[in-house]
Symmetry: C2
Subunit: 220 residues, 2 copies
């Protein structure tokens, strides 16, 4: 079989790109990450590959574009079997898709409301964010990972966004460990995986990046 | 194999329940639809089966709850192989998931903005809705169905919402056929399928139901 040609249209701090990179690392795949100039001007290849949303990440697999990060992780798992990221049974996969979708709909937007707000609005944003994490904590339960004993799809989908959690904590003035200790412990455990450690950016750089976003949004 | 026990927690006009019913019909499965009292008080079974969203549809398969309509259709296809609703190849499935997600994010909310608004707001809501349908028309292209020659997953996901299109047209004062003739023709073709005709409610009843919603929202 010819070697797979994998190009990731990327932005270093995108929680959504990070998911794809963790999945690629888990599967032991070589890929070329091409950094997009998100603010200055996106590449023609990005605009052509994702005409509906014009957003990173896009994974080009032998030239074919796959878009939307959870969808890309799903595709990676369906295309390269080992190690499996999704459960083998249809019911388990339906639960994994449910929680991935919950994370997609809730976590990043709720986190953004934290760094975008002040005063009472900030308090309400923090409450909302912690409430979402508590639901995820319920889904994690006493298990090692969201899928059970093995690291998998839902872990990857959530981990991408956790790269921003340090910034949420600092700008929001709270500690995830105090509110959701099981989620805190799960993050620490996941960060020890080589595939995750190689991918997640330095929290200080994320914090500074969010600081720039705050200035752009007139918060500071 | 023991006969599958399938219970659908349902609401007759829910675009999301309709999807699940079309998928069950396509697979030739017997099921019991239990009508929920959406406004009066949801059943304990619904609240217990879908504690995160507390919404229909929920499919109970031998007692196990599957929630979120596109996810349920996906589960049905993974559990009962024939006829297949999703493409066989991973790339085709990634495209199908992409468009199903696009429909989930856009169509029903944009349609609701039509019947919820008046005047300039209504004009802008119609424009937005038609713009979304045009994107879907682009995805349909010259094909018979979204997946190609065969009726499938994306068709089902969109068809559920089309049950409300007549109401959008009447309250919005426009014709989908004039704006997006290919989508109009696709709807007519799909409605001729027995599995779809058996499931979709009478457009007049949907129109009257949306009229009640408008009164509840203080529009009329």
């Amino acid at each position: 079989m010819a070697k797979d040609d994998l190009i990731l249209l990327d932005f270093w701090v995108s929680p959504f790109s990070l998911r794809v990179k963790i999945a690629l690392e888990e599967k032991g795949l070589d890929y070329e990450a091409r950094e997009e100039d998100i603010f200055g001007g996106k590449s023609e290849l990005l605009l052509k590959s994702n005409p509906i949303y014009e957003k990173v990440p896009v994974l080009l697999h032998n030239g074919k574009p796959i878009v939307e990060s959870s969808n890309i992780v799903y595709y990676i798992d369906e295309t390269w079997a080992s190690p499996p990221l999704l459960p083998a049974c249809a019911y388990g996969r339906s639960r994994a898709r449910f929680w991935a979708d919950f994370i997609d709909k809730k976590v990043f937007d709720a986190g953004s409301s934290i760094w975008k707000s002040k005063g009472e609005e900030l308090e309400s944003a923090k409450k909302e964010f912690i409430d979402i994490l508590k639901k995820l904590e319920g889904a994690l339960g006493g298990k090692d990972y969201f899928g059970g004993d093995d690291f998998g799809f839902v872990d990857i989908v959530l981990l991408g966004v956790t790269a921003w959690f340090g910034a949420y904590e600092k700008y929001g003035g709270f500690k995830i460990d105090d509110e959701c200790p099981k989620i805190g412990a799960w993050i620490e455990k996941c960060k020890k995986r080589e595939t995750v450690a190689r991918v997640l950016p330095d929290p200080k750089q994320v914090y500074e990046f969010v600081g720039i976003l705050r200035k752009m949004n007139g918060i500071e």
